[in-house]
């Protein structure tokens, strides 16, 4: 358990800059998610914290102590690897006990701590199995137990839920969060999956091209991304271009999109000058189909309908130059060309100023 600080970290591989002037402070017991697409530098950052690779510039501090050239095996950083990296020639017990045996602890203590941690991850009774005899979810929990049993000061999780099926993902999300809170261990998760990031972390850091784009609570990142790029990455489906209108009235400001006036909250449009070119963004599930015309209701025609189980995702054209993608709660049959009224809720629209 410890604080973690990264100060002005830069990592270059030849001409390529993987991480650029990265600054981050993680509180004791906090769970942080580094979120970004492949090649954004998140895994490189993780490997630098673990000590597998050295930063080109800058320093890493664990509990106030500079890591410098301290090798990985002296850092006391627990890592959960994406492919689990369980030792195939060792049983579950041997895998979990590996770190403790290296610490030369007495046999009785090793056995006690292994059985404690296996209880915690609900794997008791599987000690004698080999990794290949376990299911994916069980292997994952062995990997987690192995990373935790040495009581590391920092826990690093690399895509912890990526290889699991939907049901197991939810289960493991709950498990990881529970165990992390129980042990109050400072944790960094690296992931490309925004759901994984927002469901696990206390704070989410969105990265791209080796730089931090936004830092915020899961709610802020999920609902109020601060750029069109992040909105797209966070699963916003509908993007409409327009021109910012004038003064706020009742906390709302108009935006002209394809000749139609759409109201947005003054808060979302703060600091954007009238006449600027902007993009409005929203999620499918925030738009609704309505029966009557009204404020922020636009008319279009159905182009496609994809049934997704609990929602039907529609493609509606004709409202704007861009196609919009509202989702309905019920099953809707595809009727191409059918006219529809779509409501865009004022407080669910994000506004981004376009660069000239």
């Amino acid at each position: 358990m410890a604080t973690l600080a990264l100060k002005n970290i830069t990592k270059r591989f030849g001409d390529f800059t993987a991480v650029k002037d990265f600054n981050l402070t993680v509180e004791d017991g906090e769970m942080i998610a580094l979120l970004g697409g492949s090649g954004c530098g998140k895994t490189t950052t993780l490997r630098m914290i673990a000590g597998f690779t050295e930063p080109t510039e800058g320093s890493i501090f664990v509990a106030g102590k500079e890591m410098g050239k301290i090798p990985p095996y002296k850092r006391n950083v627990g890592i959960f690897f994406q492919n689990y990296a369980l030792f195939p020639h060792m049983t579950v017990f041997e895998n979990v006990a590996f770190g403790l045996k290296l610490q030369k602890l007495p046999k009785a203590e090793i056995e006690q701590r292994v059985s404690e941690i296996l209880n915690l991850v609900k794997l008791y009774g599987l000690e004698k199995r080999y990794p290949r005899e376990l299911s994916g979810g069980q292997q994952q929990r062995v990997a987690l137990a192995r990373a935790l049993v040495t009581r590391p000061s920092i826990l690093l999780l690399d895509e912890p839920l990526s290889n699991l099926d939907a049901k197991l993902r939810v289960e493991m999300q709950v498990e990881i969060k529970r165990i992390q809170k129980e042990l109050a261990i400072t944790t960094i998760i690296v992931t490309h999956d925004h759901e994984e990031a927002v469901s696990l972390a206390d704070r989410v850091i969105v990265m791209n091209a080796g730089q931090i784009l936004q830092v915020g609570s899961p709610y802020e990142i999920f609902d109020k991304p601060n750029s069109e790029f992040i909105a797209d990455f966070m699963g916003f489906s509908t993007f409409v271009k327009g021109t910012m209108g004038g003064e706020a009235r009742d906390g709302k400001r108009p935006v002209t999109c394809s000749g139609k006036t759409i109201l947005v909250s003054a808060e979302a449009a703060e600091g954007i000058e009238p006449g600027s070119s902007v993009t409005l963004a929203t999620r499918s599930e925030h738009m609704e189909l309505v029966k009557e015309a009204g404020e922020n209701v636009v008319e279009g025609t159905m182009q496609a309908a994809t049934y997704k189980g609990h929602t039907t995702r529609l493609e509606v054209a004709g409202c704007f130059d861009e196609v919009i993608y509202p989702a309905a709660d019920e099953y809707i049959e595809l009727e191409a060309g059918k006219p529809l009224l779509v409501h865009l809720p004022v407080d669910r629209l994000c506004v981004y100023k376009n660069n000239a």
Partner: protein, 264 residues
């Protein structure tokens, strides 16, 4: 049924192949127990006299066996060391000429051993004063190395290097990582390579026949020399013992390494 016919045909071919492979061995084993001085099949009676002849006869098989074991064991031991480190450095690091180096390590496999022996002979005669054992030993040391490198590389090629990072993150220093993770996981390749290399050295004829001196003769050369002079069932007896030894090696290997490890 068409499939039935195909199946039957496959079975017949398989059985014929197996007979073809095993029958000569069986005949040798049966013949080795014959009491007569001429090889006849089926044997007229039962006797162990040809087995006794291995140890007491003129063939000097036992000294040949000792020489073969000396060269084989020593060369294999040194080559396991050299080959494993060679294979590790080829697989672990990315560098230019990686494949060139691998091919260099395995090149003795592609050079006819008789040509190689000829070259070695020239070198030895330039230097002079090298004993028969050293001459054969150095030759074997070089020609069996590819088997160890190739087999180890084939295991390391699919090796999950993240396992080494995992071990390091759990507190294992590089030496502990090597002995607790890398070596145990590369073991199937190392052991099978080592056994292949040893067996190759053990029945190598072409190179040994050119390089050995009258005072240092390996078992296959002894057998060959014996065959040229006398053709009696002693040869069948010694062949039977060699077959038995091979079987024992395979059984031991299965017990200690597990043959199933080669199938994963």
């Amino acid at each position: 049924m068409r499939d039935g016919h195909v199946n039957l045909l496959c079975k017949i071919v398989a059985i014929l192949v197996m007979i073809f492979l095993v029958a000569p061995l069986l005949i040798i084993i049966v013949v080795s127990f014959t009491p007569t001085a001429v090889i006849t099949f089926p044997p007229q009676g039962f006797s162990l006299r040809w087995y006794a002849n291995i140890f007491t006869g003129t063939g000097k098989f036992m000294s040949g066996l000792v020489n073969s074991l000396k060269v084989g064991v020593l060369a294999t031991a040194i080559d396991v060391f050299v080959g494993v480190f060679g294979a590790l450095s080829i697989c672990r690091y990315n560098f230019k000429g990686k494949n060139v180096l691998l091919n260099y390590f395995t090149s003795p496999m592609y050079v006819p051993s008789i040509a190689f022996a000829f070259v070695l002979l020239q070198v030895y005669s330039q230097i002079g004063g090298i004993t028969g054992m050293t001459r054969v030993f150095i030759g074997h040391l070089i020609i069996i190395l590819p088997y160890i490198v190739r087999n180890t590389v084939s295991v390391l090629h699919v090796f999950n290097w993240t396992l080494e990072d995992a071990a390091a993150s759990l507190g294992a220093n590089p030496i502990q990582v090597f002995f607790k993770v890398t070596i145990p996981l590369a073991k199937p390749g190392i052991v099978s390579g080592g056994i292949l290399a040893f067996l190759y050295s053990f029945d190598e004829v072409a190179l040994s026949s050119l390089l050995s001196s009258p005072r240092f003769v390996t078992l296959p050369i002894r057998i060959m020399n014996y065959m040229e002079l006398t053709f009696d069932p002693t040869l069948a007896a010694i062949s039977t013992l060699l077959i038995l030894a091979s079987l024992i090696i395979i059984v031991l290997m299965d017990k200690f390494v597990g043959l199933d490890m080669f199938m994963k």
